[in-house]
Amino acid sequence: MENNKPLIVQIRDLYKSYRRGAQIIPVLENITLDIQEGEFLALMGPSGSGKSTLLNLIAGIDGADSGNIKIGGVEITSLSETELAHWRANNVGFIFQFYNLIPVLTAFENVELPLLLTGLSKKERREHVAVALRVVGLSDRIDHYPGQLSGGQQQRVAIARAVVTDPTILVADEPTGDLDRVSAREVLDLIGRLNTESGKTIIMVTHDPRAAERAHLIKHLDKGVLHEDTKASL
Amino acid sequence: MKILKLLFKNAFRHKLRTGLTILGMTIAILAFGLLRTVVSAWYAGVEASSANRLVTRNSISLVFSLPISYKEKIRQVDGVKLVSYGNWFGGIYIDEKHFFANFAVEPTSYLELYPEIVLPPDRKDAFLRDRKGAIAGRKLAERFGWKIGDTVTLKGTIFPGNWDFVLRGIYYGRDKSTDETTLLFHWDYLNETMKKTVPRRADQVGFFMIGITNPNLAAEVSVAIDKLFKNSLAETLTETEKSFQLSFISMTEAIVVAIQLVSFVVIIIILAVVANTMAMTTRERMGEYAILKALGFGGGYIAALILGESLVITSIGSVLGVAATFPAAHYFSSALSAFFPVFNVAPGTIYMDIAASFIVGIAAAVIPALRAVNIRIADGLRRIG
């Protein structure tokens, strides 16, 4: 990997805590992190280490107590809620552990969903969806509902939904956590290809070492503190 | 007692949903109770009628009158104790919105025939002495704020002109079913005026009220009276006060039937609401029922849990609804006194409320309970996973 690629994510002095009753529990303390464009970063750590919280902050669905996050030149920590939603629609692709497809929508409609927030025409949307489903290898399943698909297929639909808007970053929270080994490998292959072939910037939270080894860069979070980089060199 | 506690706990696991369902049930029982009360108010006149009284009127219809001379002939019929008479006056106070019933009657015999009309003795004397005097029911007087000594002016619709009466007494009903919204005045006053203005309409009465010695004689006395005037210019129709009142109601039967039907519609509406609540609740708890089954509890226990929970919800709602019915009926009683002179919640209505809440409670839970009883343990457990 070259080191002179532009920084797509710049995190400075990030601080986040939760309140439980009268107690204030720090989750993230003083996080500073840079991620280059085209990077594939795995965030690892035990439960409660704050890795998902960090991912949520980067994805703009949670707010920090203090510190800054700049993504693609946009200071998202200073955006209003409405602006943030708008920003997510254009810049973030989500991949969840439980796929989070909308059960009453077909594969096609699920993938089309984020495009409804863009100004694309119906015809353009149809083309984009077709491409995305072809990338994940599910062109023959466009009219199936999530309930009619296997877990691996559902996750691939979810990946198609994540990339269909061509977002700035892809965030994945335990994308293989609910899959059997074969499906997990397929999904990881797909995510890997998105990174290598399409140059997507990917930030993945996982506690599965097999998933983490696909990443170029692994960072460990423990009790809210970010530890030394580990280069994926296996 | 333990199971009841469990039922309550289960019912209130979803506080918002249960609260809303109970509120719906309360409203439905309230509506049902009020509608049944409207129906019984419709029959209030029948309720208030006495088996000792007969009504004689022109056989053609109520709008035709009978000559006053019939009175003596009727009095001579065996079994007749007392004869009174009067006219539906149909006067309007201010305008039609202020409608109430008003009659011209022969006061001495009328009050004797109607012991349920209670007047203090001095008031009664004052009324009997004043030819232009009138008495009004308690509710009527309250409605318009009349006080004794006030002059009440009625505009005649059947008998032309403006008629002034001096309020000499305010009566109250001996029984709950007594109509306290009518105004009564001297028939003589009406008759003397008619003699002067429209002589052909003088000495005519709308109805004779007849007191009989023994209620068992009602049929024979009626036949005997009508026979007296057969083939005369004004044939009569005599019947008991009760059937006279019923004949009025039968003419508006369509409305009574509609209200009765509608009162059941509200129960069906709430049935749908409670059934929906129970269906949602049991669907969410299928896993728990599977665990109970796995632990060895029988289907009957699970069915009892669901039926019991449903009954807890409908019972609470119905208790609140019944409690709200009385103040609501009291409010309607004053608001609707022009339509319904008597508006009391009958004990039968309460029984029907209770029955309705049981039926809804059980009917709503039957299908969910069957589903829960028939669930296969493995399927139910998978739902949790």
Binding site: N100, I102 | T21, P160, T252, A254, A272, V273, N276, M280
Partner: protein, 388 residues
């Protein structure tokens, strides 16, 4: 752009049982709502259609209805010669001096008596009411004990059918004709010769006078003059106005009953919708979180759930109206409180009622859905996603 409408529709379809139960509650409310409006409409239409704008009816001052009214012969002849009275093709004045009384007749089947209007008519009576057509038999001959009955009387009352006889006033009266008066109050009347009936009932006075105006615009002037004439104690009304007033009390009763029932019942149905929508929100928390994460705004979530609830209301409204439309087949006959006479009228569905019923069902859906939808839109994204 918001969340597509089919998202809301398909969710309703997915939980069919709950949707059916909730919508059927609303359907019943809309059914009752529409039925009562249809009833009031039918009543009003019947009585308004009964009168015609060009006709004037004269009754004794303050008597409110023909049955209570009485117009002396002398007064009648004064009115008869007024210049405003139109003249027919044959040179006869288009004015009918009529007698209107109630007689009590037993119904077919139940034998229960009810009050029926019997109208003593003259030659002009029929000319003044062109909506009346003889459909069976013939007109009664003047000066005879013959009568004709309106269709709804012939059908529902003993002795009202053609060839049958009614006994009153110490005479037998033969029904020689049946007339159809459409949806008007005349369908619930019996007509006979006015002089014969006045004799039989020993009524020396007319009940009312009805005439056609020479010029419809002359009414106000006529009314003012006739009501201030010292020889007369009468009032004049346009026939349309007269019949509208006859139905006022009944229509008011129906309106009060209808409104209170609808309000109370709709509370029940709205609560049902609210329970359903709260459950819908609770079951889809992670879906809501996902949609928000994808970039849908709070107001889109609000919109989607309100849309779902509106659809629910619309389904209820549609079903309720569908069943209410069958009520048009039913004719209600009841006593008009104001005139004490029997009146038959049908449930009448109009476009206005359809419109109001649908609007009402949407309103129920909106009220039931708004709080749950607000709850859905207020959710925190991270918490919602975690609920999955």
């Amino acid at each position: 752009m918001g969340i597509p409408y089919y998202y809301s529709l398909r969710n309703l379809w997915t939980r069919r049982l709950t949707t059916i139960l909730t919508a059927s509650g609303m359907a019943l409310v809309v059914f009752v709502f529409a039925s009562i409006l249809m009833l009031a409409e039918g009543l009003q239409k019947t009585l308004v259609d009964t009168g015609s704008y060009d006709n004037v009816i004269i009754i004794r001052k303050a008597s409110k209805s023909e049955v209570q009214s009485g117009v002396e012969r002398g007064q009648a002849s004064v009115i008869e010669v007024q210049p405003e009275v139109a003249t027919g093709a044959d040179g006869q004045r288009l004015l009918a001096k009529e007698l209107v009384v109630l007689i009590s007749l037993p119904k077919r089947g139940t034998d229960k008596p009810s009050n029926v209007v019997i109208r003593g008519t003259s030659e002009a009576s029929l000319k003044l009411r062109p909506q009346i057509k003889i459909i069976d038999g013939r007109m009664p001959r003047p000066g005879s004990s013959e009568i004709m009955a309106g269709q709804s009387i012939a059908r529902r009352f003993k002795g009202g059918g053609i060839g049958e006889t009614l006994r009153f006033g110490m005479r037998d009266w033969t029904v020689v004709g049946i007339f159809d008066a459409g949806n008007t109050g005349f369908s619930s009347e019996i007509w006979g010769d006015v002089d014969q009936l006045m004799q039989a009932f020993r009524r020396p006075v007319y009940s009312s006078l009805t005439f056609k105006l020479r010029e419809p615009s002359e009414f106000e002037e006529f009314k003012t003059r006739i009501e201030s004439d010292p020889r007369l104690t009468v009032e004049a009304k346009r026939e349309t106005q007269y019949y509208r007033e006859q139905s006022e009390m009944m229509a008011k009763f129906l309106r009060i009953l209808g409104m209170s029932l609808t309000v109370i019942f709709s509370l029940g149905a709205v609560i049902g919708a609210m329970i359903t929508m709260y459950a819908a929100v609770a079951n889809r928390v992670s879906e809501i979180g996902t949609l928000r994460a994808l970039g849908f705004q709070r107001r889109s979530i609000l919109g989607a759930f309100i849309m779902e609830s509106l659809f629910l209301g619309l389904i209820g409204g549609g079903v309720g109206l569908f069943f209410a439309s069958f009520m048009q087949l039913i004719t209600i006959s009841t006593m008009n409180f104001q005139t004490f006479s029997e009146l038959a009228f049908s449930f009448t569905l109009t476009f206005g009622i359809v419109y109001r019923a649908l609007l009402f069902s949407l309103f129920m859906g909106l009220v039931g859905g708004v709080l749950p939808a607000v709850r859905a839109s207020r959710m925190n994204i991270v918490d919602a996603l975690r609920a999955g």
